[in-house]
């Protein structure tokens, strides 16, 4: 590899931001100033393979610059490339892939205004216009429209990020023009967010399993976590041994809660039995599905539970290193998880000798940078490895060749925290919850036209109507979006659908990631559908043609029929169907395959354009 670096140099601040992550450069070969020739410069080039093997630090490096400066200049990018021996063209491709990075100068403070479904229904469009009028040019704030910020229970939402050392963030939700402007102009003095339990209307209910500790324990205290039953599951895991843990999880009938519903025990067994080493555990906390915020609430309200669950999972699959891939728009979850991991490490619950059992495991947090596609498991691996977050084609599957080409078990946050009650209560007791086909408790993210939006926990098998009643559904319900933007709409007369994998399948819809978004008659449906199409067009990685161009053609067709119905819309609806069918059949990954689901269901089930 003969890399070519341009003439642009980093500023002192940019250099400092990168050096804080990677340590100072040792020779001018890797970007140290040339003014004083060092002995190392004359004899050999440090870096090379050693540096190249740290390619996975590219994303953290881009974050370091973006956090400190607010954008990534040519000089900063080239310096980072020198340090890691990454070709600048590839690093540029990575930097431009993520929505939260900018390679063009922009104000140090950026206000991300959520424009996605729940916020759109709560008037985000008018709010954005108001904020833009208030924070015009000269205010020193860049206003950017953002996809779902995962704050749907407090819609409409805004996230202010001010670059500096350290970077400052402020979440304002529910927000107004004045509140958003204040968060942006003084993130440090913005009012604190309500506690995580605010998002759990059932908090304190003794029947809760997964959410039992949210709002009950102090999320900053490991002792409090242990006092509330923490680390009992890990002790049981050590008593059972890895194979025993997998057997319990398999017997419990746990399936993945991220939307694909793959049996977790089978995934772990397949990973554990791979002869290739090392094995990795990846926790997918990149929940970017519009309407989904359950992982955020769990991480904010009960962070040690995730640390413990990841330790159990890693022990079962034989991994000594776990990555927590956390979406970049969750500053509080990031802080809580950082703190929890640090405490666990200090107390011997992570590290060389977990619980004195001679088992080594540690967790590294990786921050996403604004890309829905990175929730796709193989795209997530690419993102961690320092490549563009494009999905890989399968097979080979991650259990065989995953992160860094090694056997990897990937689970989302909700799936992992289910492992704790399986171990503490036993597989049989766990499997007794729910239905025979869908065992255990399930988290739902309820938002939209309800009185008490938030995360609800119910055993599988409750009906959609029961859930909505719990959340206080308002009158004149027009539609319910089930499973998020990649899910489907159902009608108000279908509320007896049982919330199980088999029940939703039988009803021709999906449980997806557990989103339940209610829309009353005041919500303009065509505009909502347009927003869904726009979301997928924005978030397509662009790798394959059906998704890259198909999402654009669908959005165009929806624009054309926004105001039309019946026969006038028929030809464009036919076109939507034809393109949608090819996207579902021929796209590389789930994004393209499901991008048309919600709109199709709105046409078929709701008669959106009749």
């Amino acid at each position: 590899m003969d890399l070519h670096f341009g003439d642009s140099k980093p500023t002192d601040e940019e250099r400092a931001a990168i050096d804080a992550l990677l340590g100072p450069a040792e020779s001018s070969w890797e970007g140290a100033a040339r003014d004083e020739m060092r002995a190392a410069d004359l004899r050999w080039a440090r870096g090379g393979r050693e540096a190249r093997e740290r390619r996975d630090l590219l994303l953290p490096g881009l974050h370091a610059v973006n956090d400190r400066i607010g954008w990534i200049s040519e000089g900063a990018l080239d310096y980072l490339c020198r340090r890691l021996t990454v070709p600048p063209a590839e690093a540029y491709g990575v930097a431009t892939f993520y929505a939260m990075f900018s390679v063009k100068p922009r104000p140090a403070t950026v206000l991300h205004m959520c424009t996605d479904l729940a916020c759109a229904a709560a008037g985000a469009a008018e709010l954005c216009a108001g904020v833009e009028a208030r924070l015009g040019p000269g205010s020193g704030v860049g206003v950017e429209r953002s996809p779902c910020l995962g704050l749907c229970e407090r819609a409409p939402a805004a996230l202010a990020v001010r670059a500096g050392d350290p970077v400052r963030t402020a979440v304002s939700a529910p927000t107004t023009v004045a509140w958003a402007a204040m968060a942006a102009s003084a993130p440090d003095s913005a009012p604190e967010e309500p506690p995580a339990a605010f998002a759990v209307p059932q908090a304190g209910d003794p029947s809760l399993v997964l959410l039992s500790r949210v709002g009950v324990v102090d999320p900053a205290s490991l002792d409090d976590y242990r006092a509330h039953g923490g680390y009992a599951a890990l002790r049981r895991a050590f008593a059972l041994g890895p194979a025993g843990v997998i057997r319990e999880v398999t017997d419990a009938g746990l399936v993945g809660r991220g939307g694909a519903a793959f049996p977790t025990g089978r995934k772990w067994q397949a990973t554990a039995s791979q002869p290739d080493h090392p094995h990795y555990l990846v926790c997918n906390a990149d929940e970017s599905e519009p309407g989904t915020f359950k992982d955020r609430v769990v991480m904010e309200g009960d962070p040690y539970a995730l640390v413990e669950a990841m330790t159990v999972a890693a022990y079962a699959v034989g991994a000594h290193k776990g990555y927590l891939y956390l979406r970049g728009e969750y500053p509080r979850a990031l802080h809580r998880m950082e703190h929890a991991i640090g405490q666990a490490r200090a107390r011997g619950l992570l590290g060389e000798d977990v619980l004195g059992q001679g088992y080594a495991f540690d967790i590294e947090i990786r921050r996403g940078a604004g890309a829905y596609i990175c929730g796709e498991e193989t795209a997530l691996f690419n993102s961690i490895e320092g490549y563009r977050g494009e999905p890989r084609s399968k097979p080979p599957f991650p259990v065989e060749k995953g992160l860094f080409g090694k056997p990897t078990a990937e689970n989302n946050v909700e799936t992992l925290v289910n492992v704790l009650p399986i171990l503490t209560r036993g597989a049989e007791a766990y499997a007794a919850i729910g239905t025979p086909g869908s065992t255990g408790p399930k988290l739902y993210c309820v938002s939209g036209s309800v009185d008490r939006p938030g995360i609800y926990e119910l055993p599988f098998g409750s009906t959609l109507g029961e859930l909505l009643e719990l959340a206080g559904v308002r009158e004149r319900l027009r539609a319910v979006l089930l499973g998020g933007a990649a899910g489907g709409f159902v009608r108000p007369d279908e509320l007896d659908i049982p919330l199980t994998f088999e029940g939703t399948r039988a009803a021709g819809t999906t449980l997806g990631s557990g989103v339940v978004m209610a829309f009353d008659e005041t919500v303009p449906l065509p505009r909502l559908l347009l927003r869904i199409a726009e979301f997928f067009r924005d978030e397509s990685c662009g790798q394959c043609v059906p998704c890259r161009v198909g999402t654009v053609r669908q959005e165009e067709a929806l624009h054309r029929i926004a105001e039309r119905t019946g026969a006038a819309a028929a030809d464009d609806i036919a076109l939507l169907r034809e393109v949608g069918r090819a996207m579902r059949d021929a796209s590389i990954c789930g994004l393209g395959q499901t991008a048309w689901n919600a709109v199709e269901s709105a046409i078929d089930r709701l008669g959106a354009y009749e």
């Binding site: 063209a89 590839e90 892939f97 563009r388 043609v545 054309r560």
Partner: protein, 286 residues
């Protein structure tokens, strides 16, 4: 028909292809099997010298038991598979993909595509006159080659050829994402400010003419490019001792471009700047 390679014998994998028994060596793709059986499956991003990226999705076929269609170019044949190459479902996807591509980029210099548009009855115009497309002027920033993004289908072949599969120069990558994704050098700079070493191997693999020789681009603009009047002569490069094969494309007694045979076991179609572009001395008649 059965495909049997020369060289070390490999185990044969048996499966059914359109209801017929097919036997291919282990490691072969479905596309290899199709070609061995004389079946025509269209491909755009597949290249004979590169690992398939399966980005274009034109070659999708139906695999029994699979939820979605699978790309024939990269899916390995497995024993017991049942593959159908010409079902209504596969044809529908191919038709739509061709329509989507042809509506968003200029495929006028892409070989074979006109035939597929006809065969699959694709109607790229049906997305309307306002359908988004690039509409960008070709980038002419150096004397050797032209980047015409209007013709780029983002097949990743140039990225792979410039990167770890052949050249190891890593001058180009994909930047941006979604419909705005573009092949770009670092900081989207002119080629002359980039890491490019002008080997032209990206032109060699480009399936659409988005990358072309300056000579070809200028002649096409002037209306003098005439492939039917060209002869091709394969010879040995005279610059160094490696002995790369050059195929000289000659029109009106002038070399108009240089390619390299892909089946050459040493170069596999790759050349350096001298072999690819350094031919003026041959025809300097001053």
């Amino acid at each position: 028909m059965t495909a049997i390679p020369l060289g070390v014998p490999r185990r044969l994998v048996e499966f059914t292809l359109d209801g017929q028994e097919a036997r291919v060596p282990e490691g072969s793709t479905i596309l290899d099997a199709c070609r061995a059986a004389g079946k025509d499956v269209p491909t755009l991003c597949q290249g004979d010298t590169l690992t398939p990226k399966n980005a274009c999705r034109v070659c999708v076929v139906e695999l029994e038991g699979a939820r979605t269609l699978v790309p024939a170019c990269s899916r390995k044949a497995e024993a017991g598979m049942a593959v159908r190459t010409d079902t209504e479902r596969a044809r529908h996807s191919r038709k739509i993909v061709i329509e989507l591509l042809a509506s968003s980029v200029d495929l006028s210099t892409t070989p074979q595509v006109a035939g597929w548009i006809k065969e699959y009855e694709a109607k790229p115009d049906r997305f309307g006159p306002d359908a988004a497309r690039l509409d960008e002027e070709p980038k002419i920033d150096n004397g050797l080659y032209v980047r015409d993004y209007d013709k780029c289908i983002l097949c990743y072949k140039c990225v792979d050829a410039c990167g770890d599969q052949w050249q190891n120069t890593f001058a180009i990558s994909v930047a941006g994402r979604g419909f705005d994704a573009r092949i770009a050098v670092e900081h989207d700079a002119p080629l002359t400010d980039s890491a490019c070493v002008y080997c032209g191997n990206c032109i060699e693999v480009c399936p659409t003419g988005a990358l072309s020789f300056r000579s070809e681009f200028d002649m096409r603009a002037a209306g003098t490019w005439d492939e039917s009047a060209q002869t091709e002569t394969t010879t040995v490069c005279a610059y160094c001792g490696v002995g790369c094969n050059l195929t000289l494309h000659v029109q009106d007694n002038e070399i108009v471009k240089v390619t390299s045979p892909h089946d050459n076991p040493v170069t596999h179609g790759n050349l350096c700047i001298k072999g690819r572009f350094g031919y003026q001395h041959v025809q300097n008649r001053d």
